[in-house]
C-alpha cells in the first residue's frame, strides 16, 4: 500500500523521508517537484501524479507537502486520508505542524511513523493508542529528558490496540470529571451582486472535550435532530442507536475529539447574519477605480456579530490602494494583492464602511471582473441552524460529571460576488 513518505517544504527541499517497504530513491520526488514548478499556487499541484514506475499522492497542508509513494493500486482516498492523519498527529503531539517542529522532534516523528504503518498498512492511527506508546513532549519532560538523558518512549505497553474500543484507554482517572461539547456551525454561502443568496448551507461540527474517569457510556440527545440532514460520526458512535432513536450513544475517547459533523438541509432557508453593500468600479479609461464596502447585521437572532473580516483578492493590475475605514483597520499587501479589512464587532448603530480609490498600473486594461469578497465572522452562543443539545446522560459510572455545551456560528466559505 503506502510505500514511502516524503516531507517537502514549499521551496522543494525534502527534509524527512520514511520507507515502510524497500527503500525508494528520493529522486522519485523530481516528478512532483516538476509539477510543483508548473503550478501557480501550491494548492494547484495535482494530488495524484503518475510517474513511469510509481504513483505519487500528495497533500498540501500547513505549508508542507506530504508526499507518499505508491506502487500498486490502492484507493487514493485511503492514502490521502492517512496523510492527513499524519499531519493531524504531528499537530496533536507538538502543537503545530511545521518544518521546524518536525526537524526538532525528528526522532519522535520517526517513531510515530513507524507505529502508524506496518508494511504500508495503517496499524495504529488512534491518537490514544499512539500516546500510550510514545508520550507527547511537555516542557517539564523535555527538561527532565535533557538532564537525565531519557526519552519519551512510554514505559507502558500499548494496550489500546487490543481492545474492541481502541480509542479509549482503560483505567482513566480524573479528580474533576467533566464533559464539554462545542457545537460549531459554519455558513457556506455565495451571495450575488444584489445580495441575493445564490447558495447557502450550514455545516456543523460537534467537538468534545471529555475528561471522565473509567468507562463512561454517554448519551447525547438533541432537541431537534430532524434538522440534521446528513451526519458523520467518530467511530465510537453507535450507528444503530442513531438510526432508531436519533441520539448519540458512545463511549468517548479521552480528551479532545470530533464527535460528529453534520449538514443542515440546504432546502431550509439559511439565515444569513450579515449583508454587504458594495460597489467596486473601474474607470473606462483604465487608470483606476473606486471601492466602497459597507457591512451590516441582518439575521443575527439578537446576538452580536464579532470578528468580522473582509478579504479581497484584488486584480493583478492594481498598483496601489488609498482607502479609509470608519471602523477597524485594513492592510494591503501589494505582492499578493490581498486586501484585508479587519472590522471586529459589528455595531448596528454605526455601520462600518471602507471606501477610497484604487489605482491601476499604467497602461493596464480595465479588469474584466470585479474581485469577490470573502467574509469572516463569528457569533457566540448561537447555532444559526437552531440546533440545540437536549441532554447528556452518563451510564456505567457512579460519579456526577460537570457538563457544558457551547455554541458558535462562524462563516465558512462565505463569498460575495461583485
Amino acid at each position: 500500500m503506502i510505500h514511502s513518505l516524503f516531507l517537502i517544504n514549499p521551496s522543494g527541499d525534502i527534509f524527512l523521508e520514511k520507507h515502510w517497504k524497500s527503500v525508494v530513491s528520493r529522486s522519485v520526488c523530481d516528478y512532483f517537484l516538476e509539477a510543483k514548478e508548473k503550478a501557480l499556487e501550491p494548492e494547484d499541484v495535482p494530488p495524484v501524479i503518475h510517474t513511469p514506475r510509481h504513483y505519487l499522492i500528495s497533500i498540501y497542508r500547513d505549508k508542507l507537502f506530504f508526499l507518499s509513494v505508491i506502487q500498486t493500486e490502492v484507493p487514493p482516498l485511503f492514502v490521502i486520508e492517512f496523510l492527513h492523519r499524519v499531519a493531524e498527529m504531528i499537530q496533536d503531539y507538538f502543537g503545530e505542524c511545521s518544518e521546524t517542529v518536525v526537524k526538532d522532534n525528528m526522532v519522535m516523528v520517526y517513531e510515530l511513523l513507524e507505529e502508524m504503518l506496518d508494511n504500508g498498512f495503517p496499524l495504529a492511527t488512534e491518537s490514544n493508542v499512539l500516546k500510550e506508546m510514545i508520550r507527547p513532549p511537555t516542557i517539564l519532560r523535555s527538561v527532565v529528558n535533557t538532564l537525565t538523558g531519557t526519552s519519551n518512549i512510554g514505559d507502558t505497553l500499548p494496550t489500546g490496540q487490543l481492545s474492541t474500543i481502541p480509542w479509549r484507554r482503560a483505567g482513566v482517572k480524573y479528580t474533576n470529571n467533566e464533559a464539554y461539547f462545542d457545537v460549531v456551525e459554519e455558513i457556506d454561502a455565495i451571495l450575488d451582486q444584489s445580495g441575493t443568496t445564490v447558495f447557502a448551507e450550514i455545516q456543523g461540527v460537534v467537538g468534545a472535550c471529555v475528561k471522565l474517569s473509567g468507562m463512561p457510556d454517554l448519551t447525547l440527545s438533541f432537541m431537534n435532530p430532524r434538522l440534521l440532514d446528513d451526519v458523520s460520526f467518530h467511530p465510537c458512535v453507535r450507528y444503530k442507536r442513531w438510526e432508531s432513536e436519533r441520539v448519540l450513544s458512545f463511549i468517548p475517547p479521552d480528551g479532545n475529539f470530533t464527535l460528529m459533523t453534520y449538514h443542515v438541509n440546504a432546502q431550509n432557508l439559511v439565515a444569513i447574519p450579515v449583508y454587504v453593500k458594495q460597489s467596486i468600479s473601474f474607470f473606462e479609461s483604465g487608470s483606476g477605480g473606486r471601492l466602497d464596502v459597507t457591512v451590516g447585521p441582518k439575521q443575527t437572532m439578537g446576538k452580536t456579530v464579532e470578528g468580522v473580516m473582509v478579504t479581497v483578492h484584488l486584480p493583478k493590475t492594481i498598483l496601489s490602494v488609498n482607502l479609509t475605514a470608519t471602523q477597524g483597520s485594513y492592510t494591503y499587501d501589494n505582492g499578493t494583492k490581498l486586501l484585508v479589512w479587519d472590522i471586529g464587532k459589528l455595531n448596528p448603530q454605526k455601520l462600518p464602511n471602507l471606501r477610497g480609490s484604487l489605482s491601476l498600473q499604467a497602461g493596464a486594461p480595465k479588469p474584466e471582473e470585479n474581485p469577490s469578497l470573502n467574509i469572516d465572522l463569528k457569533i457566540q452562543q448561537l447555532a444559526i441552524s437552531g440546533l440545540k443539545v437536549n441532554r447528556l446522560d452518563m451510564f456505567g459510572e457512579k460519579y456526577k460529571p460537570f457538563k457544558g455545551v457551547k455554541y458558535i456560528t462562524k462563516a465558512g466559505k462565505f463569498q460575495v460576488r461583485t
Binding site: 494548492e43 498540501y60 492517512f82 531519557t150 505497553l157 467511530p235
Partner: protein, 1079 residues
C-alpha cells in the same frame, strides 16, 4: 476546549496505573529505564548489561521490566535494523535469535512486535524462520498477534513469492478468524497474495459482512473493495434487463426514497440473493463514517452492486465529502464526474454544491465545471448558464476558457438552448481578453459544424471581427469556417482572403496553413474572383521557412491547378477538399472513465495501475448459493431444536471454548481461529446426534454407515495433511491434534451411555480428522451434505408429533436468522460483551433470548390515564443503554380525542433507581400509538420500579413489576462449563425441589418451553435425554444462574437451581414448580 498541554499532563498521570491494569502485575515504572534505548547512541553502553540477566531471571516482574526496556530499545534499533537489513544482511542475522525467543514470550504485545520486526527484515535467508513464525502466530490465542501475522504474510510474500501456497494456507485459516482485529489485515493479505482465490471467501462471506461495522476503518476499506469484487462474481445483476437506465423512474424514486427501497424486491420478478442484500444493508451505515476513504468505498460498492434506484442513497454522503480537504474534494469530484454522466438525477438536487468559488484550486474548478455541465438539462439550463456567465468573467483565464467549452457542450447537448448559447458566445467575441475570444471562436466553429445550414450571419459577424482577433488558433478557426462555408458567404470570403494575402508573411504557421486551405477552397468554388489571389498565396507559401507550409502548398498546387501530369487527381479536388466533414463530438473527458472501478487509483489516473483488479461482469446465472452456507447452522436445528439460540456462530464458539479450556490456555473471545472449531463441532454434533437417536435405529445405522465411510476418507486426507505439517512445524499444532481427540472421546463416553461401539469409533475418528487445522473445503462440504441428508427425514418424523417444534423452528431457518441477527447492531453487542467480560468468565457468552413471551402488562389504564394508555413488556434483549439494565418495551396509545404532548418520565422512586428514560414523545395524535424502549436497573430484585409518566398536563404514577425470570439474560456454555460452574455453587447456593410433572411435559421437547417462558435462560446442550440444563446470568450483577431439570420415573422431576443470589433462586424455583406442574 482545554489546551493541549493540560491534556498531556493528565494523560501522564495515568501512565503507570495503566500498565498495571493490563498486565496484572506490580510494576515499578522508573524514569530511567526507557532511556536505555538511547544508550546505544551514547556512551553508557553498560546500562544494558543487566538486561540479559533480567530477561533470564525467573521473576516475572523483572522479566517484564526488562521487556519494557526491550520495547523501548526497540523503537530506534528496530527502525534502524529494518531500514538497513537489506544492505547489511550479516549484521541483521545476528539479531534473529533474539526475536525468535521473543516470539514465545507470554506477553502478547511482545510476541506481536517481535514478529513484526522479524518479518520486516528483508533477508532471504530467514524465509523459513519467518514462515514458521507466521504459522505459529496465526494460531496464537491473541487476536493482536494473529493480526500481526496477517501483516507478516504480505511481507514474506513480497520477499519470496515461492511461499505462495503455504501462505495461502495461513490466509485461509486466518480468514476464518472471528476477531474484528484480524479481519481487515487478513483480507489485505488475501488481496495481495491470492486475490483470485475467491473460493476462500465463500464460507466467510456472511461473517465478514456482519463484522464489517466493527472492523477498524482502514480494514473496512479493504474488505469493502474485496467484497465488491466478490459480489460481482457471485450474484446476478440487480439492474434492469434492458440495461438502459430510465431517468424518469429514477426521479420519481427520489421523492419516496424509503418506501421504494422496501417494496423493491417484490415489485420485480428479479429476486435479490439474501447475501447480496446483506452486503448492501451492512455497508450502508458506514456512509456515516468520518473516514472519507470508507465513505467512498461504500459509495462505489453501491454504484457497482446496488439496484439502480438505491444508488442515490450515497449522494448525500459524497456531497458531504466535498467539505473535506482539497485533495479529498479532488478525488470525490472525479468520481462524481464519472457518476453524473450516467446518472444525472443522482446529483441534480445538489447542483448548487458544485458552484465554483473563486478560492477553489484550478483542478477543483475544472472538475466542478465538468459536473455542472453533465448535470445541465432542459429544466436547469438557465440557472447553469447564469452561473457560467459569472465564471466566464473570472480572473483565472484558464478557467474562463474551460467555461466556454462547457457552454459549448451544453449547447450541443440541449438543443433548446443552442441558439442562446451561440448568441452568448458571439457576444463573448467582443471580450477584451484574448483567450476568452479565442476559445469562443473555437467553440463556435465546433457548434456551427454541427448545424451548418443556418447561421451564416454568425460567420459574417466573425469575419468582421477577424481584424481584431490576434490569437492564432482563433484566426485559423475563422479562416477554416470561411473556407468550409464559403458558398454561404460568397462576398465576404474572397475579401478575407485578400486581407490574408497582405499579411500572410507575418502570420503564425497555423494561420498560414488555413490561409492556403481557404485559398484552395475558394479557387475551386469561385475561381473567377480568386484565381490570382490564390496563385499569389501559393507562391508565398512555396518559399516559406516552414517545411509543413511548403509541403502543403506544393500539394495544393498539384491538386487544384490543372496540368497534364496529374489530371487524374485534380478531377476529384472538389470532392477531396470540400467533402462534408463530420461534426466534432463535444463530450466529457470522463465519459469512459467508469470502465475502471470507482474510487480506485486507476480511475483517478485513467490508466490501469499495476495491481488493479478488474471488476468482472455480472454472471448470467448465479453460481451455487449454498457455498456460502456455514455448516454450523444445520446442527443447531437438530440438536437443540427448541430453544437453543438464534445466533449462528455460537455453537462453534462453545466448542471452541471447550477446546481451549481443555488445553489449559487462557482464552480470548473468538480466539479459536481455525477450521477445527467448525469442523469438530459439526462432527461432534453429528456424532452425538447419531447416538441420541437410538429410537430410529434403522435410520441411525444407515447414517453411521454413511458417515463412517466418509470419515475414513476425510481422515486419510487429513492425515496426509498433518503429516506434511509435522515435518515442518513440530510443536503446538501436533499437540492439538491429539488433545481434542482424547477429550472428545471422553465427553462422548459420558454423554452417550447407550451409544454403540461403532458409533463411538466413528465419532472419534471423525473428530480426529477435523481437528486438523486444515480441513479441506471438500471434506467440509461433505460434512454439510451429510448433515443435510440427515436433517430431512428427521424433521418430517418430528413434525407429525410435535407442532411446537416447528413453531420454534421458524425462529432459526438459515437465511432468515442471518437477517435477523444483523439487525441488532453488532457494534453495540460487541461493546456490551466487552463490558460484561469483567463480570463473567469469558467462556460464557450472552446469547439471544430463547423465547420471548408475547404477554404484556398494563402500565397505565386508559381510564386512569385520561386517555393515555400504556402497556409494558419485557423483550428480553440485552439492554442497549447499559448492560446492567433490563430493557422494557412500552407501547403508548392515545385513546382520547385530542393529541397528547410531551410524554416523558418524571420523578421516580426509590430515588436511587437507575432508569434510562425514553426520549420525550413530543406529540401523540389521537388513535396513534408509539413504542418506546427504556432501561431499568432492577438491581436483581423483583421490587417494582415506580416512576411518574407525565404528559404536558398530567402526571400518573405507574410501576413496573418484573417477574424474576425477566431479570436474567440467557447465556450459552458447554455442558462441561456448566458442571464446573455448578461445582462452585453448592450448599447455600443450591435449592431444589421434586415435583410431579404434568403428563404432557414428559417428552423431551416441551420441557424447555415452559422453562424458557418462565425465565429468560439459555439452553445448555445436554447429552442425556432425561436431564435438561439451562443457564443465565442476572442482569444487574451478572451472577450465574444454573437450572437443572432431571426427569425421574413415574413422572416426577427434580429441579435444581444453583445461584449465589439465593433469594432469586428460590423465587425462580417457585415459578418453575408452578409452570412445570400445572402445564
Amino acid at each position: 476546549m482545554l489546551s493541549m498541554s493540560t491534556n498531556n499532563l493528565s494523560y501522564n498521570d495515568q501512565g503507570g496505573t495503566d500498565s498495571a491494569v493490563e498486565v496484572g502485575q506490580e510494576t515499578t515504572p522508573t524514569s530511567s529505564n526507557a532511556g536505555a534505548g538511547f544508550g546505544l547512541f551514547s556512551v553508557d553502553f553498560k546500562k544494558n548489561d543487566d538486561l540479559k540477566e533480567m530477561l533470564e531471571s525467573n521473576k516475572e516482574s523483572l522479566k517484564l521490566e526488562a521487556m519494557k526496556r526491550v520495547v523501548g530499545l526497540k523503537k530506534l534499533v528496530y527502525v534502524y535494523l529494518v531500514r538497513y537489513a537489506e544492505e547489511q544482511q550479516d549484521l541483521a542475522l545476528l539479531s534473529i535469535s533474539t526475536f525468535q525467543r521473543a516470539l514465545k514470550d507470554p506477553n502478547q504485545l511482545i510476541r506481536a512486535s517481535a514478529l513484526r520486526v522479524l518479518s520486516s527484515i528483508r533477508v532471504p535467508i530467514i524465509v523459513p524462520i519467518m514462515m514458521l513464525a507466521i504459522k505459529e502466530a496465526a494460531s496464537d490465542m491473541s487476536p493482536y498477534v494473529r493480526k500481526t501475522s496477517a501483516h507478516a504474510i504480505q511481507k514474506l510474500y513480497s520477499l519470496d513469492q515461492d511461499q505462495k501456497d503455504l501462505l495461502i494456507e495461513v490466509i485461509e485459516k486466518l480468514l476464518k478468524d472471528k476477531s474484528t482485529l484480524v479481519a481487515g489485515s487478513v483480507v489485505m493479505a488475501f488481496e495481495e497474495v491470492c486475490p483470485d482465490r475467491i473460493d476462500l471467501i465463500h464460507k466467510n462471506y456472511r461473517k465478514l459482512c456482519n463484522l464489517l461495522v466493527d472492523v477498524e476503518e482502514w480494514g473496512q476499506v479493504v474488505i469493502i473493495s474485496m467484497l465488491t469484487r466478490y459480489a460481482r462474481t457471485q450474484f446476478t445483476s440487480p439492474w434492469k434487463e434492458d440495461g438502459v437506465f430510465d431517468e424518469h423512474s429514477e426521479r420519481a424514486f427520489y421523492e419516496s426514497d424509503e418506501e421504494k427501497t422496501r417494496n423493491e424486491p417484490e415489485a420485480k420478478p428479479y429476486m435479490m440473493d439474501p447475501d447480496h442484500r446483506l452486503l448492501l444493508r451492512n455497508t450502508k451505515p458506514l456512509l456515516q463514517s468520518r473516514n472519507t476513504a470508507v465513505v467512498m468505498s461504500v459509495a462505489q460498492l453501491y454504484w457497482h452492486l446496488a439496484p439502480k434506484n438505491e444508488v442515490s442513497i450515497v449522494t448525500k454522503s459524497l456531497v458531504r465529502l466535498l467539505r473535506s480537504h482539497r485533495e479529498v474534494q479532488y478525488i470525490v469530484l472525479q468520481n462524481i464526474a464519472s457518476m453524473s454522466i450516467q446518472r444525472k438525477g443522482m446529483f441534480e438536487p445538489y447542483m448548487k454544491s458544485f458552484y465554483v468559488r473563486s478560492t477553489d484550486a484550478t483542478h477543483i474548478k475544472s472538475l466542478k465545471l465538468e459536473i455542472l455541465t453533465s448535470l445541465a438539462n432542459e429544466a436547469n439550463i438557465s440557472t447553469v448558464l447564469r452561473e457560467f456567465q459569472t465564471y466566464v468573467k473570472s480572473q483565472d483565464k484558464e478557467f474562463a476558457a474551460g467555461t466556454i467549452q462547457a457552454i459549448g457542450r451544453c449547447a450541443t447537448n440541449i438543443s433548446e438552448v443552442t441558439d442562446t448559447c451561440l448568441n452568448g458566445l458571439v457576444l463573448l467575441l467582443s471580450n477584451r481578453d484574448e483567450t476568452v475570444v479565442a476559445e469562443s471562436v473555437v467553440v463556435i466553429r465546433k457548434l456551427l459544424q454541427t448545424q451548418p445550414t443556418q447561421h451564416s450571419d454568425i460567420i459574417k459577424h466573425m469575419a468582421k471581427l477577424f481584424d481584431n482577433i490576434t490569437v492564432p488558433m482563433a484566426r485559423a478557426s475563422i479562416l477554416w469556417l470561411m473556407g468550409e462555408y464559403c458558398e454561404r458567404v460568397p462576398k465576404i470570403a474572397p475579401d478575407v482572403l485578400r486581407k490574408m494575402a497582405k499579411s500572410f508573411t507575418s502570420e503564425e504557421d497555423i494561420v498560414k496553413l488555413q490561409t492556403v486551405n481557404l485559398a484552395a477552397k475558394l479557387y475551386l468554388t469561385n475561381s473567377k474572383q480568386t484565381k490570382l489571389l490564390t496563385q499569389y498565396i501559393l507562391n508565398l507559401g512555396k518559399y516559406d521557412q516552414n517545411y509543413d507550409i511548403r509541403d502543403r502548398t506544393r500539394f495544393i498546387r498539384q491538386l487544384i491547378v490543372p496540368n497534364d501530369k496529374n489530371g487524374a487527381l485534380s478531377k476529384y479536388a472538389h470532392r477531396i477538399l470540400l467533402a462534408p466533414k463530420p461534426a466534432p463530438l463535444l463530450e466529457s473527458a470522463y465519459k469512459d472513465r467508469d470502465r475502471y472501478q470507482l474510487g480506485t487509483l486507476s480511475h483517478t489516473i485513467n490508466t490501469k495501475a499495476s495491481g488493479y483488479l478488474e471488476l468482472s461482469d455480472w454472471p448470467a446465472v448465479a453460481p451455487d448459493q449454498s457455498v456460502r452456507n456455514v455448516e454450523v447452522i444445520e446442527p443447531v436445528k437438530e440438536w437443540a431444536p427448541s430453544l437453543w439460540k438464534t445466533g449462528k456462530s455460537k455453537p462453534a464458539k462453545s466448542s471452541d471454548d471447550k477446546f481451549y479450556s481443555d488445553s489449559g490456555e487462557e482464552e480470548e473471545e473468538g480466539s479459536g481461529s481455525s477450521s477445527s472449531e467448525d469442523g469438530s463441532s459439526s462432527s461432534e454434533e453429528s456424532g452425538s446426534d447419531a447416538e441420541s437417536r437410538v429410537e430410529n435405529s434403522s435410520q441411525s445405522s444407515e447414517e453411521s454407515d454413511e458417515s463412517s465411510s466418509q470419515s475414513e476418507k476425510s481422515s486419510s486426507e487429513s492425515e496426509s495433511d498433518s503429516e506434511k505439517k509435522k515435518r515442518k512445524t513440530k510443536t503446538p499444532l501436533q499437540k492439538k491434534t491429539v488433545k481434542p481427540t482424547a477429550k472428545d472421546g471422553d465427553s462422548d463416553g459420558n454423554v452417550a451411555k447407550e451409544a454403540s461401539s461403532s458409533s463411538a469409533e466413528e465419532s472419534s475418528s471423525d473428530s480426529e480428522s477435523d481437528s486438523d487445522a486444515h480441513t479441506d473445503s471438500d471434506s467440509g462440504t461433505e460434512h454439510k451434505k451429510k448433515t443435510k441428508s440427515k436433517a430431512k427425514p428427521k424433521v418430517e418424523v418430528k413434525s407429525k408429533k410435535e407442532v411446537s417444534l416447528l413453531d420454534l423452528g421458524d425462529f432459526t431457518p438459515a437465511p432468515v436468522t442471518q437477517l435477523k441477527s444483523s439487525i441488532l447492531s453488532p457494534s453495540l453487542l460487541g461493546d456490551l460483551e466487552g463490558m460484561s467480560l469483567s463480570n463473567v468468565s469469558s467462556t460464557i457468552q450472552v446469547s439471544g433470548p430463547a423465547f420471548v413471551p408475547e404477554k404484556s402488562h398494563d402500565l397505565l389504564h386508559r381510564m386512569t390515564g385520561k386517555g393515555l394508555s400504556a402497556q409494558y413488556q419485557f423483550p428480553r434483549q440485552p439492554c442497549l443503554y447499559q448492560p446492567t439494565m433490563v430493557s422494557v418495551q412500552i407501547s403508548l396509545t392515545n385513546t382520547s380525542d385530542h393529541p397528547l404532548e410531551q410524554i416523558h418520565i418524571g420523578d421516580r422512586s426509590p430515588t436511587g433507581l437507575n432508569i434510562h428514560c425514553f426520549n420525550t414523545v413530543e406529540c401523540l395524535e389521537p388513535e396513534a400509538s408509539v413504542t418506546v424502549f427504556m432501561g431499568i436497573d432492577f438491581n436483581d430484585s423483583t421490587q417494582a420500579a415506580n416512576f411518574q409518566l407525565c404528559t404536558k398536563e398530567d402526571h400518573f404514577s405507574v410501576s413496573i413489576q418484573p417477574a424474576v425470570g425477566d431479570l436474567f439474560l440467557p447465556i450459552t456454555m458447554t455442558e462441561l462449563d456448566f458442571r464446573k460452574e455448578q461445582g462452585k455453587l453448592l450448599g447455600m447456593n443450591e435449592s431444589s425441589a421434586t415435583i410431579t410433572m404434568a403428563a404432557e411435559n414428559m417428552t423431551s421437547q416441551p420441557i424447555s418451553r415452559p422453562v424458557a417462558t418462565v425465565a429468560n435462560l439459555g439452553v445448555v446442550p445436554s447429552g442425556q435425554d432425561d436431564i435438561h440444563r439451562f443457564a443465565g446470568k442476572t442482569a444487574s450483577s451478572g451472577a450465574v444462574v444454573l437450572v437443572t431439570v432431571e426427569l425421574r420415573e413415574s413422572s416426577t422431576a427434580l429441579i435444581t437451581i444453583n445461584t449465589e443470589k439465593s433469594v432469586m433462586g428460590s423465587m425462580l424455583l417457585r415459578d418453575l414448580k408452578q409452570a412445570l406442574a400445572q402445564a
